[in-house]
Amino acid sequence: MITNKDTIKELAAQKKRLDQRNLTDYRQPIVIETNISWTAEGSAKVQVGETIVMAGVKLSIDKPYNDTPDQGGIMVNAELLPLSNPDYEPGPPGIKAVELARVVDRGIREAKAIDLKKLCIKPGEKAWTVIIDIITINDAGSLFDVAGLAALAALRSARYPTVDEETGVIDYKKKTDKALPLTKEPLPVTVYKINGQFFIDPNLAEEKACDARLTVASDADGQISAMQKGGSSPLSVAEINEIISLAKNRADFLREEMNRQMGGRK
């Protein structure tokens, strides 16, 4: 495949892409599979074009933080596996993995998509912690959007494990049919600016050619819950306004796709 930045930029000026897509189209196929891992409380594998990301949810019972004694917690971690891209090396998460985890985390946390109070079992003593692990299987670009979709699908599929009433010990092998208190469905969409044009869902070559990017997490009501600007070029307020409209529209498209493949929620 041609990975010439200049070619991508020249084509951008004519609103064209190397793979013939419209600038705001996601790659096909979009495949959302859930319950792919029996050992996780919830899990999903999402494929968008050639990019494949898995997400797994594990639950544990911990003591709530002192300043929020009546709330459980959430945590998002991302692993850019060396299995998924020749540029990734074994070792602790680098800055790219940390940014991915934190942007997905904020989209969910700040939307209050999970009702943390409902995770509380006994105030000051016991509450559920929800840990979402995002794992790249094939990084062919657009990780924020694919990871955000995988994380939400995994959360939707998650079921609490059984807890022994007397000992308080979790039996991870026996799941209940109780779902997580998921109240909203925020999804991050990243808009990339290449040569003055706005792109959605770039492949790796397009990612490298980008001047700036803005990730916008928004829910079904159009509320924005997180943003992250990247890239070395600035964006004007007018551009940001346009990007947000585009991101909301594309988040709606992804949510529809998820509902179609997973069945509507409840």
Binding site: S37, E41, S43, K58, E79, P82, L83, P86, I131, I135
Partner: protein, 241 residues
Amino acid sequence: MVYKKRLDGRNNNQLREMEAKVGVITNADGSASFKIGKTWAIAAVYGPRELFPKFLQDPKKGVLRCYYNMMPFSGSGERIRPGGNRRAQEIAMVMSQALQPVVDLSAFPNAVVDVFIELPQTDAGTRCAGISAASMALADAGIPMKDMISSVAVGKVDDKIVADLDYREEHIEEFNPESAHASVSDIPVAMINNTKEITLLQMDGEISQKDLIAALELAKEATSQIYEVQKKALKERFAKE
């Protein structure tokens, strides 16, 4: 003796249901997915590529390097903290050694062939599933190989010599009250398909010499079944092109 019937109803020589697919990661030079029961291994091969740091290079031939990793949500209990541990290090080492006898890297001096093995879910037998996946991924990458490696655990549960133990059989005293004092031996084996020579052999538990040899004989038959699944998946991959 009390272990009359296997917990999941299989015959003693019967493997769990298998599913193999080659070419699952487009970024990799070779890749494969191998499921056996509820254990799932994905392998990706990158290389031959230049090996850094340079002092690790071998001017006579390429180096084969394996990595083994259980995903944080792949254990049957609590979340596994990412970042590797002694168990993963040891498994990666024995995996490399299990594959090396059939891999010929003499044409690639100073280079490395990296094999990354990831497990999204596990139910015992992970190193064996990983080796079976890795062997397909190496073939997919076009790495010169003399033969395929097929791997499965055999062992003795109470008085039965069985193939492909799952988690419940490995912990029989917990899941089968009648076998509360039963002994279990778990023997991961990898074999070169044509010669049936052994390239991986580990064991824990207790077993007599006679039973061990019987278990290894069973491994010949069991690895042949795995080989058939590997061969079919490789053929399907290249029939497409």
